[in-house]
């Protein structure tokens, strides 16, 4: 039984005939980590936002279903949907520098949800938050809880955001390029941290990235996106053994090997791009004739 | 999104036209006051004191908007009042603009001690309550149209100077200015040919707004009985009188108030409309 399932999800910019998501289907079993890869603008973040109900105002869903824990989210009232997502999902954002409210201390930013949405006692929430901060290897949790975001480094803030995401024991986490904004050495620590935490808490993660190297380290499965369309859905081992779709193959070839950083990059060849473009056009035409 | 923006555009257009229409009307009234006004605005008739406007029972035929306590025709005074209001708006507005924008340009472009001195003056001016300052000036200079205009210029030049100074600073830092200087042009010449045209839209917008403000200041000064010798027809003077007799003759207050309200609103909407349309900086 899948924890999250997208069935033919389509989205476009409000009142414009410009699809952003083209019938996206993917599933996430409990405890599974699914990578979502593709070039910039492919619609990776859009999928994460659709799941969490935070699509930009200008974007509307035009079709498909989002099932969370056996329930079709779109059938719920806005309020219930928000609460369900708040109770069982969490987001690890891309940029830790902007994801914490600069005028509030850290403590309430972690504990608010536990108290307001999950109905915990304030004291229990604080203890829990400190535990979690400890778990993400923050030295002095009590001090950090009292700090303002600007007093902390980027790496620290991302740890806090990870702690905050796991604090409510969500069943699903959307991690939207959680390491891109950090410098390389910190990136590795944070990745490892996410992986450890995931293993310990058994959380399913939708992991958005454009780095196949990262995918190979943390994910069980992956979906390759192009132009808002899933071109390949595969498990990690068979994907890295041999991608099925030509675009995925080119993408993999374009990724520098961790084992061989000196290898030259081969860009995705034009012929491959032309190929996927053709698929997209064919898809749009089929849609138009329905 | 696009629809909303279109709506705003259209509203802005309507706003501009309505404002221009009203101001045109006021201008015509001011220009042709002797031809349009049904009565002499100064003629008193104590037997016709506080006659109500035409639709109210007891109105005196020929006095469309009623009369004030001295029996003067409200409509005629309103029309003649437009003359003073517009004169003040145009002359004081333009003079304030020239002085304020000139100083602002110099401060912003020349920097250095010029800027220091002008900025210090702006600071001092900002610490004055403007209405009190203008009243003070009038009390000192004595009432009269010229005094009012001078007072407005003296209290309001900072409004231009502050904005234009900031803009000139921004413009002065741009490449094309540097290249003009490199090409061997003098400072003043660069200021007038390179900077001035670029801040001109802002100046026009500020000028429009300033005219509205000038009208209000004139009204305020007339209201406290300091502007023009009292029997001359000014909207502020009429309002002042209307305020006193508000329970007996509301029309003496209401009509000049409406005229003043619409004129001030029109100037400011015109300014805002122009700003939205032409000035990317102020927007």
């Amino acid at each position: 039984m899948n924890y999250l399932e997208l069935k033919g999800l389509s989205a476009r910019i409000m009142r414009q005939n410009h699809p952003l998501l083209r019938s996206v289907s993917l599933a996430l079993a409990p405890g599974e980590v699914r990578g979502l890869v593709g070039e910039s603008g492919a619609g990776k973040s859009m999928i994460g936002k659709a799941v969490l109900g935070i699509l930009p105002k200008a974007v509307e869903l035009t079709g498909g279903e989002i099932w969370l824990d056996g329930q079709d989210l779109q059938r719920l009232s806005a309020r219930d949907r928000r609460h369900r997502i708040g109770q069982s999902c969490a987001l690890i954002p891309q940029d830790p520098l902007t994801a914490l409210n600069p005028s509030r201390r850290i403590a309430p930013q972690i504990t608010d949800r536990l108290v307001d949405i999950l109905g915990w006692e304030r004291a229990r929430a604080v203890t829990r938050a400190e535990e979690l901060l400890h778990e993400v290897r923050i030295e002095d949790p009590a001090r950090v809880m009292r700090a303002y975001p600007h007093e902390l480094s980027g790496g620290m803030r991302q740890r806090i955001l990870i702690a905050s995401a796991f604090a409510a024991e969500p069943k699903l986490i959307v991690a939207d390029e959680p390491t891109t904004a950090l410098d390389v050495t910190v990136q590795k620590q944070i990745l490892k941290l996410i992986k450890d935490m995931q293993a310990r808490h058994g959380t399913a993660i939708l992991f958005v990235t454009h780095d196949l190297g990262v995918v190979s380290k943390v994910c069980n499965r992956l979906s390759v996106l192009y132009g808002g369309m899933v071109v390949e859905d595969n498990d990690i081992d068979s994907f890295f053994a041999g991608p099925r779709h030509p675009y995925s193959r080119a993408l993999l070839a374009a990724t520098p090997k961790y084992t061989d950083p000196g290898a030259s990059l081969t860009p995705v060849p034009d012929s491959v791009i032309a190929g996927v473009r053709g698929e997209i056009e064919a898809f749009d035409q089929r849609q138009a004739h329905v | 999104m696009a629809d909303a923006r279109m709506m705003v555009r259209r509203q802005a257009g309507a706003r501009l036209w309505l404002s221009a229409f009203w101001l045109g009307l006021v201008a015509l009234a001011a220009l042709f006051a002797p031809l349009i006004a049904p009565h002499d605005p100064l003629a008193q008739d104590l037997f016709l004191g506080r006659m109500p406007p035409f639709w109210v029972a007891g109105a005196e035929p020929g006095y469309w908007l009623g009369t004030d306590s001295l029996g003067r025709d409200v409509l005629s005074r309103l029309i003649y009042g437009a003359r003073i209001a517009l004169t003040v708006a145009l002359v004081a507005g333009a003079a304030t603009c020239v002085l304020g924008a000139g100083l602002g340009l110099m401060a912003g472009y020349m920097r250095g001690w010029v800027d220091t001195v002008i900025s210090r003056f702006i600071d001092i001016w900002m610490a004055f309550p403007p209405v009190l300052f203008s009243i003070l000036l009038i009390a000192v200079m004595g009432p009269g149209l010229i005094s009012i205009i001078i007072a407005i210029v003296i209290i309001d030049w900072t409004r231009f100077a502050r904005v234009i100074r900031a803009e000139a600073m921004g413009q002065g830092a741009m490449d094309y200015v540097a290249s003009a200087r490199v090409a061997g042009r003098g400072r003043i010449s660069t200021m007038l040919t390179e900077i001035l045209p670029n801040v001109l839209p802002t100046i026009v917008v500020l000028l429009t707004l300033e005219m509205g403000i000038a009208v209000i200041i004139e009204a305020i000064l007339s209201f406290v009985n300091l502007s023009i010798p009292t029997d001359d027809a000014t909207w502020g003077g009429m309002i002042s009188e209307g305020r006193v007799s508000i329970h007996q003759a509301w029309w003496v207050l209401v009509f000049p108030l409406i005229a003043l309200f619409l004129t001030v609103l029109a100037f400011s909407q015109l300014g805002e409309g122009l700003k939205d349309r032409y000035d990317p900086v102020l927007r």
Binding site: L52, R82, P93, S103 | V131, V140, R243, V254, Q269
Partner: protein, 329 residues
């Protein structure tokens, strides 16, 4: 420290400007005070009494020397110390200004929150139009409209004075509004509020529009930020997100502007007090100007300048307190 120094220079500049403006221009205040039959000797005697026989710089330094000791001279018309007269009226003006400020913040804040809640809808467009109107029309005109509306057509508020004259006032200070509350005299309090409401509203309307516009704009910008989005994923609704996550950060840019605008509001009390015959500093100032009461005028203008610069200092402090980055940086 540098701030304090520039403030002092500004105040000194104000003093010089007022001093010069009043004295350079012809027109003898003493002559106006005397009965028609007064002799040259009488004039000279009075001139000497008020120090008008000395040169302008001399007069200035004598006056400045007094000011430093809190002595602003003697009013020509009332023949009383200016300091006492001015301080006696100050509470009335302060209460009016603060009341107006509070009203402006409440109205502007409500507009901003409501407009943000309903952003990109017709409601927001309507709020924008209303704000635009409120902004275009100055306090003087709002005052007149309010007098017409709520004083005459539908007379629910008082339109002149500060308190009904026939009432017995048990007050020891001139902070009537405040003291009536402290003494639990709600009957008096209601009467005072009913007098103050319209003038305060007239002052508040333009400022509320500015606050509404600016706060809404910065709220809307804040609503796109990551931490706001994150709060949404945590199950919070729009209203909650606006109030708890966005508001505090959005308020900071508004605050600085409100400071400057508040000084404009205080400047506006001069004419509004006149309009509503409210016995504050502004009304006194206009009387002083009409009577050419030089020492009184100087005192009042300096006091206004003090208030203006004081407000600006307070705003800077408040900004530092509200902005954690400055507080701990």
């Amino acid at each position: 420290m540098g701030r304090l120094l520039t403030t002092l220079i500004t105040l000194l500049g104000v003093a010089v400007v007022v001093f010069v403006v009043i004295r350079v221009v012809p027109g003898n205040p003493i002559a106006m005070m005397l009965p028609p039959g007064a002799t040259e000797a009488d004039i000279a005697r009075l001139n000497a009494l008020y120090g008008f026989d000395k040169s302008i710089p001399q007069q200035f330094f004598i006056w400045l020397g007094g000011v430093v000791q809190g002595d602003f001279g003697t009013s020509i018309t009332a023949r009383q110390p200016v300091t006492g007269m001015v301080l006696g009226r100050l509470p009335a003006t302060l209460e009016l200004s603060v009341m107006a400020l509070v009203m402006a913040c409440v109205m502007g804040g409500a507009m901003a929150l409501w407009g943000t809640r309903r952003r990109e809808t017709k409601t927001e467009a309507a709020i924008d139009v209303a704000n635009g109107m409120a902004l275009s029309v100055p306090d003087f005109l709002w005052g007149l409209l309010l007098i017409l509306g709520f004083g005459v057509l539908w007379p629910v508020f008082h339109i002149s004075g500060r308190v009904t004259p026939s009432l017995e006032l048990p007050f020891t200070t001139n902070f009537y509004l405040f003291e009536s509350l402290i003494r639990l005299r709600f009957d008096l309090w209601a009467d005072i509020v009913s007098h103050m409401f319209l003038p305060a509203l007239a002052l508040a309307i333009p400022l509320s529009a500015i606050i509404g516009q600016l706060l809404k704009q910065s709220l809307k910008e804040t609503m796109h930020l990551d931490y706001v989005t994150l709060a949404r994923t945590r199950g919070y609704g729009e209203t909650h997100v606006i109030l708890r996550e966005a508001l505090r950060n959005a308020i900071l840019p508004t605050l600085t502007l409100v400071g400057v605008q508040f000084t404009f509001l205080i400047g506006g009390t001069v004419i509004i007090e006149r309009l509503f015959s409210y016995e504050g500093l502004g009304n006194m100032a206009i009387e002083a100007v009409t009577n050419r009461d030089l020492p009184l005028i100087q005192g009042i203008v300096i006091l206004f300048a003090l208030i203006f610069t004081g407000v600006n200092l307070v705003v800077d402090l408040l900004y530092a307190v509200l902005n954690p980055r400055l507080r701990h940086g």
